[in-house]
């Protein structure tokens, strides 16, 4: 009981300590304080699905502020965002992406607090980028992230580094609301608080526990490579159970060992990108009494996730640039039905083109299509255009089409988003 109390209090004390340190740090003299931010007006309109339970349009105000402070070897960083959705109140939130204090000297870099990590090498499929929880009511190819509380210790060496992580708190992903058109769950069903399976097979809603790992990175000429080993609570492949008494769904997350890495090589105008992770789930030996949904044999299958891509770029005489992107992702080690349950892009290919005018307005057009090469008729098409309106204003607009009709009794994978076709526009003021 005493161990459990300490286990609970220490991370909370650490959170409060970090926040106080950050605020104190920013009052220190003789340092460098930098900041930037944005305020955006977001709108999206979906094709009418004729369901009363869902909302086909959203209007939201989004804001983000980022500050960093440096004084000698001392560092701190703070990055917060907030969204106020006028149509879907549950989509409104305030999120911490980064809130850390750190020390950097003689090749050592130590940080304590919430961090947002990005371990991506590819453009759309990211088996290796699994640390931070996502906000699931956002673009499926590039989900927004929430900061993860951690202690990270990095030691740099020539052309590379080794980083060790300890993460004491589980950050829950933010599910779409029952009204959202981007939910993978049946319309109108509420998602309750998450439950977490521990490595000893116990289940609870306790969000504190030991997660740890390490990452090695190295640059070798025209190649970059990384290797990682992380033992943590998986945040991307829960088992969802019905809590009948509360009338809501509850995600149950499993402990998992993620082992993998990335490899990237530049070959002239070509870039080869590879991401890989083997997911070794730590499943309970015995059936688990969930307390809310009865006794279940809870299990997630171990599997490999592999993504590979090629990018080719060229310049135009007027200074613009074109880039062709081809990427594929596959889940290996499980059968077809299990693959479809585990990931919406279980055997998919992306073909895309990016055109950058490289002009004063920094205009850019991105066209991508993702299609399933294993399951019939699963297709996602996205067009987005962005440009600067002035030195402080920018606009992004586009549309997305999803064609993935349900083929069996219940939707699987991308089928849950069938005909969630949408147009979107974001107007942003930067400062």
């Amino acid at each position: 009981m005493k161990t459990e109390k300490i286990h609970t209090y220490v991370p909370r004390v650490l959170n409060l300590f970090c926040l106080m340190l950050i605020l104190f740090a920013m009052t220190l003299p003789a340092g460098t304080l930098k900041y930037k931010g944005e305020l955006a007006f977001e709108s999206r309109l979906f094709q009418n699905d004729h369901l009363e339970e869902t909302r086909d349009g959203n209007l939201a105000l989004f804001g983000r502020i980022e500050m960093s402070y440096r004084s000698g070897a001392f560092r701190s960083g703070l990055r917060l965002f907030g969204r106020l959705d006028t149509a879907d109140g549950e989509r409104s939130l305030i999120g911490i992406e980064e809130a850390w204090v750190g020390f950097r000297k003689s090749g050592w870099d130590i940080k304590l607090g919430a961090q947002m990590l990005n371990w991506s090498a590819a453009e759309a499929f990211h088996p290796a980028d699994m640390i931070n929880s996502r906000i699931l009511d956002s673009d499926i190819e590039s989900r927004e992230k929430l900061g993860e509380v951690m202690l990270s210790v990095k030691k740099k060496f020539s052309g590379g580094s080794v980083t060790v992580f300890v993460m004491p708190r589980y950050e829950s992903p933010k599910f779409p609301s029952p009204e959202s058109r981007l939910s993978f769950l049946p319309a109108g069903l509420e998602v309750g608080d998450a439950f977490w399976l521990e490595t000893d097979g116990n289940i609870s809603d306790n969000r504190y526990g030991l997660q740890f790992g390490a990452r090695f990175s190295k640059t070798l000429g025209a190649s970059d490579m990384t290797l990682h080993y992380i033992q943590h609570q998986d945040r991307s492949q829960p088992v969802v159970l019905l809590d009948a008494s509360a009338g809501e769904l509850r995600p149950v997350y499993f402990p998992v060992r993620d082992m993998g890495g990335t490899f990237l090589r530049v070959m002239g105008a070509w870039i080869l990108k590879i991401e890989y992770s083997y997911r070794d789930f730590i499943n309970p030996d015995e059936p688990v009494d969930t307390g809310f949904a009865g006794v279940f044999r809870l299990e997630q299958p171990d599997h490999h996730q592999f993504a590979m891509g090629l990018e080719y770029g060229w310049s135009f005489k007027n200074g613009g640039e074109g880039t062709v992107i081809i990427e594929g992702q596959g889940l290996l080690g499980v059968n077809k039905e299990t693959r479809a349950r585990l990931h919406p892009f279980q055997r998919d290919v992306l073909i895309g083109y990016r055109h950058a005018w490289n002009d004063v307005l920094s205009r850019e057009l991105l066209i991508t299509s993702i299609f399933d090469i294993e399951r019939k008729r699963e297709f996602l098409f996205n067009v987005s255009y962005r440009q600067r309106l002035s030195d402080t204003w920018g606009i992004r607009l586009g549309f997305r089409l999803v064609d993935a009709p349900v083929k069996q009794a219940l939707p699987v994978g991308l089928e849950a988003l069938h005909k969630s076709n949408q147009v979107f526009m974001t107007l942003t003021r930067y400062f």
Binding site: K34, K36, E66, S68, R70, R75, G77, R104, G107, D109, M116, L117, N118, S120, S142, K154, K156, S158, G159, G160, S161, S217, T219, G221, A222, D224, L264, V266, G268, A269, W270, I271, E311, G313, W314, S315, K317, N318, G319, G320, E321, A356, N358, D359, V360, L361, S362, R388, D391, T392, G394, T428, Y430, F431
Partner: protein, 259 residues
């Protein structure tokens, strides 16, 4: 007899002189190497620059950035450019490891995604931040990346210069050739004409405001005129400091995402 001896000696002297005479290519390469050597040894440099873009109608927009450079002994320089303005690119950083005999290594840090992305440096003819400067123009100009040919000695605005023809060795260059007016004292260009792949004059850059910092001459203003589009861009250096000692790991891709 004396006359014959004189002719023989004269012939020998002329033959030896002819054998030792540089070809224009050899002279061009020698001058380029001497200039590079004269500009080496600064160890590190910090720059704060403002770039003014002018369209054909005369409308102006401004870009601001800082950069820091570290000289390496065995290969080209390493540099990090941090973009300060416009506001949407504030905090974006580009790291370049220049190489004498192969493509440069480049990485881009995208602050909104906290992502360090490796990019190809092969397509150097792309426009830098919408300006008339290409990535190729602003990158480190290693001697090995061009063939050099001395054309003649000239005078430009009262300054003694070598007129040098430079042809990029990379087939991906946006230029078929460049003609440089290289100042004999500054050991750096005061004017460059850029010719496109068709051999037509594309751009002209003029270098002004050379100042001596420690032992090295540094330009403080470059104006680039695109003669085909009638657009222009101007880079001005607000701050230029030599010899700061930057640690090497500041120029690793791992350090790009660090604030």
């Amino acid at each position: 007899m004396i006359k014959r001896m004189f002719l023989i000696v004269l012939t020998m002297i002329l033959t030896i002189a002819w054998m030792q005479a540089e070809t224009p290519e050899e002279k061009g390469l020698r001058i380029a190497i001497e200039n590079e050597t004269a500009n080496n040894g600064f160890q590190g440099e910090f720059q704060e620059t403002e770039m003014v873009l002018v369209n054909a109608q005369g409308d102006k927009t401004v870009r601001k950035m800082t950069s820091k450079t570290k000289e390496t002994k065995k290969d080209g320089d390493m540099s990090i450019i941090t973009f300060l303005w416009p506001a949407d690119v504030k905090g974006t950083r580009m790291l370049t490891h220049t190489h004498k005999k192969r493509d440069d290594d480049q990485w881009l840090f995208l602050p909104s995604l906290k992502r360090v992305k490796r990019i190809s440096s092969r397509n150097k003819s792309g426009a830098f931040m919408g300006s008339e400067f290409s990535y190729e123009d602003l990158g480190s100009q290693e001697v090995e990346k061009f063939s050099h040919k001395w054309l003649k000695d000239v005078t430009l605005d009262g300054r003694d210069c070598w007129l040098i023809e430079q042809i990029p060795t990379s087939k991906k260059s946006g230029y078929s050739k460049q003609i440089l007016w290289t100042d004999k004292e500054y050991r750096q260009p005061v004017k460059i004409e850029y010719y496109d792949r068709k051999g037509e004059l594309l751009k002209v850059s003029v270098f002004n405001g050379y100042k001596k910092l420690d032992n090295w001459w540094r330009v403080h203003e470059i104006k680039m005129d695109n003669v085909q589009t009638r657009k222009s861009s101007l880079i001005k250096w607000k701050v230029r400091e030599l010899k700061p000692k930057y640690p090497a790991d500041d120029f690793e891709s791992e350090s790009l995402s660090e604030s």
